[in-house]
């Protein structure tokens, strides 16, 4: 399965499947299914993310402009990394009429299985210029290792 990146163009479109989404949620909670993929629920959005690595660490960058670091959460459980949070509209600025509303708000949740083993206690994250950058140092066994060739 691949990561899903769905960017809804206009959250104002009424979806006739609204009820179906909530029915599915009902079953999910009844069976306590761990949600590993972000779903297309109304009121949710998927921020874009990149995953890349160099020899020593794995990096995850998530585009989350206009937020505060208290508004999102990063968790690592076994080898699954989850970034979730909520972006709300700042209501004190919304006194006029809106002309064009392309920004999305609401809850988001992206989670995926890490492709390499990492040192969980050494994970660092920084939020700068609207980009959340998570650095996950690789576990020793996941780093590339030089193998000495001896002459027998």
């Amino acid at each position: 399965m691949k990561l899903i990146n769905y960017r809804p163009l206009n959250q104002d479109i009424y979806s006739p499947f609204d009820r179906l989404h909530s029915l599915r949620d009902l079953f999910d909670s009844a069976f306590a299914l761990a949600s590993q993929e972000s779903r297309l629920r109304p009121g949710t959005w998927n921020p874009a993310l990149d995953i890349y690595e160099n020899d020593s660490s794995l990096f995850v960058e998530v585009e989350l402009p206009g937020m505060k670091k208290e508004d999102f959460d990063i968790s690592l459980e076994d080898d699954v990394l989850t970034v979730s949070g909520q972006r709300s509209q700042e209501n004190e600025n919304r006194s006029g009429e809106s002309f064009r509303s392309e920004r999305v708000f609401g809850q988001f949740r992206r989670s995926f299985t890490l492709p390499v083993a990492v040192q969980a206690e050494a994970v660092k994250a920084a939020y700068q210029d609207g980009v959340l950058r998570i650095e996950l140092p690789k576990a020793e066994e996941a780093k590339p290792r030089k193998i000495e060739v001896g002459i027998a």
Partner: protein
Amino acid sequence: MTQILHPTQRDGVPATQTAAQPRALHYSKPPVHLQQTADGYTLEVELPGITKSSLELTVEDGQLTILGHRSADDESPKTVRYWHQERGPGNFKRVFDLDPAIDASSISASIEQGLLTIRLPKAEAHQPRKIEVK
């Protein structure tokens, strides 16, 4: 459960250029929120990864142009391997035709955590004005 199978062998970010190559940049169109109040407009533009120094705002002939360039990554392209890429090259461009009522000389802007907020006040003459009856 989502699973990532293998990294692509592609090196680094497509928009990174060396000095010898001409810049052939790809621009994404950033999402905006535009609001009108009695005395002007407020425009919010999402520009993740853009700082004050990599941002260019110009007003010319009644058009506002917003340009943001992603600064060269500190990771050199050769040492980075991508597992998954959804972010674009990171350069943004958007052009707006301005309402003639806007006073171009008093446009102000600030950027915080990748969110650019531009205030475009209408010129005094165009603002609703109460008229005192003596």
